[in-house]
């Protein structure tokens, strides 16, 4: 059984983590993080896109179409990173019983799912000119699709409970079960693609110019900043919904 927040608070009283584990304390901090996130996202995206389109040279083998990479790769990475973060907070919530942890994983899930859609969409559009087809049953691609299913399952499950607290714990459990399965699925799909190799074209890796690499890295940081800001915004909305009636909220939302 999970410890209750009260018990945990007593035990760990005074540590910074527990101070911010209280929604009331984290609400203003989340606001600050959110603001910084939006600013960074806009600035970094501006720099990254400028570099990507105007500084980075045309790719020798692919031509201009490779410029999709500046959003495709960051989106694909965020899909995985956010899933891990979501499962981490879900686990924290189950073990420590802190409300904020569950809210954190709920706040991350929709952004993660959107990143999965962006990775799949941009990858498909990129695949057509490079591999001659929109879709290939490649291991990396297929795992991204399954990761998308796991996100949707998590969100659908938490929406299926009228009792929020139960929904929190139930969906946290399914997030953890999914997290254990991700590597199993990845290696199974990899095995499967080698089993069925032949017709499908496999993604080749091209050596990249350093400006391309830089543009991609900067865009990755822009995606990070965006995802953090969006998650913090969603987190604050949830705090408002769930702490309705708490006195401190009146001042905070006026």
């Amino acid at each position: 059984m999970a410890r209750t927040e009260q018990q945990s608070n007593d035990k760990f009283a005074g540590r910074w983590f527990w101070r911010y584990a209280a929604p009331a304390a984290f609400y203003p901090l989340a606001g600050k993080i959110e603001k910084i996130g939006w600013v960074l996202a806009v600035v970094l995206a501006a720099i990254g896109l400028y570099m990507g389109f105007f500084v980075a040279p045309t790719d020798a083998t692919q031509g201009e179409v490779y410029r999709v990479i500046f959003i495709h790769v960051p989106a694909a990475w965020m899909t995985m990173v956010i899933y891990l973060a979501m499962a981490f907070w879900a686990g924290t919530g189950l073990v420590l019983g802190t409300r904020l942890s569950f809210m954190m994983s709920h706040a991350l899930a929709p952004t993660g799912a959107i990143m999965a859609v962006v990775a799949l969409w941009t990858g498909s559009l990129w695949g057509r000119p490079t591999w001659g087809t929109y879709w290939v049953w490649d291991a990396r691609i297929t795992s991204t699709l399954i990761l998308f299913f796991l996100y949707v399952g998590y969100m659908a499950l938490s929406a299926a409970f009228d009792d929020k607290k139960k929904g929190d714990r139930a969906s946290a459990l399914i997030a953890l079960v999914g997290a254990i399965n991700v590597p199993i699925i990845y290696f199974s799909v990899k095995w499967w693609t080698t089993l069925h190799q032949g017709s499908s074209v496999r993604p080749g890796s091209s050596s990249m110019a350093t400006t391309m690499l830089w543009a991609m890295l900067i865009m990755t940081f822009a995606f990070w900043a965006y995802c953090v800001a969006a998650a913090m915004h969603r987190l604050r909305t949830q705090i408002i919904e769930r702490e309705a009636g708490a006195a401190w909220l009146d001042g905070a939302t006026k």
Partner: protein, 227 residues
């Protein structure tokens, strides 16, 4: 129907290997939540053997919630529940008590005997055919032992499912947690159940009861808990 273990021989090993047939119950600063909202807080009470504890309160006061916590079916948000044997060793709720809620806990496709012996096995009771027949006879439904539960009338169902409480090897051995047990019973059966509760109390059991109906029960000791 007198429970020797309880009054005089606490801690002595019984003839068939039973230790400490009776219990006492202590709630300390108990609080519970449902759906994130506090239902009750700071409930403390001490119940000895041979006591009837009536839990009172309006709809939604948390009576069912409390009984489920006592049965080990829910966790309190704060405080503690302790079932203790007379020698003061702690017991698990499942060893100490039997819970009967709104639902019958009987599968309609199985016979009465099959349902009851399943319930006994899960409660850790060694249910002999004799025990089973005796329990059904006490409720006047021994004829139904091999009938499919789904083929019984509402009243017969209720009686057959109450037989679960009487499966224990020895009267008074376990506490009874009864949530609105008189609902849907006609007056005869109500009186019969009240008598059974009285006997169990006399034999040394604790009975915790919620009921919106005022049914007279002949209890050695009585306590009330208002939620």
């Amino acid at each position: 129907m007198y429970c020797g273990y309880c009054v005089g021989l606490g801690g002595l090993q019984g003839a068939r290997g039973f230790v400490n047939p009776c219990s006492s119950l202590r709630l300390e600063a108990l609080a519970a939540e449902r759906g994130g909202k506090a239902v009750f807080t700071d409930v403390s009470v001490n119940v000895e053997a041979r006591t009837l504890l009536r839990v009172l309160g309006p709809n939604g006061a948390g009576k069912t919630t409390l009984l489920r916590i006592l049965a080990g079916l829910g966790a309190p948000s704060a405080g503690s529940v302790q079932w203790r044997a007379p020698d003061d060793s702690e017991r698990s709720p499942n060893e100490a008590a039997m819970f009967a809620g709104h639902a019958n806990a009987m599968n309609e496709a199985l016979t009465v005997a099959e349902n009851l012996s399943y319930a006994a096995a899960l409660a850790g009771i060694d249910c002999t055919p004799m025990n089973l027949r005796r329990a059904l006879t006490q409720l006047g439904v021994e004829k139904l032992i091999n009938r499919r539960f789904g083929s019984l009338s509402q009243g017969q169902r209720k009686r057959a499912s109450l037989a679960r409480l009487l499966l224990r090897a020895q009267a008074g051995e376990r506490a009874w947690l009864l949530d609105e047990p008189f609902v849907a019973l006609d007056t005869d059966t109500q009186a019969q159940l009240a008598a059974l509760i009285g006997e169990e109390l006399a034999a040394g059991a604790i009975v915790v009861l919620t009921s919106h109906q005022a049914v007279a029960i002949n209890a050695p000791k009585m306590q009330e808990l208002m939620l």
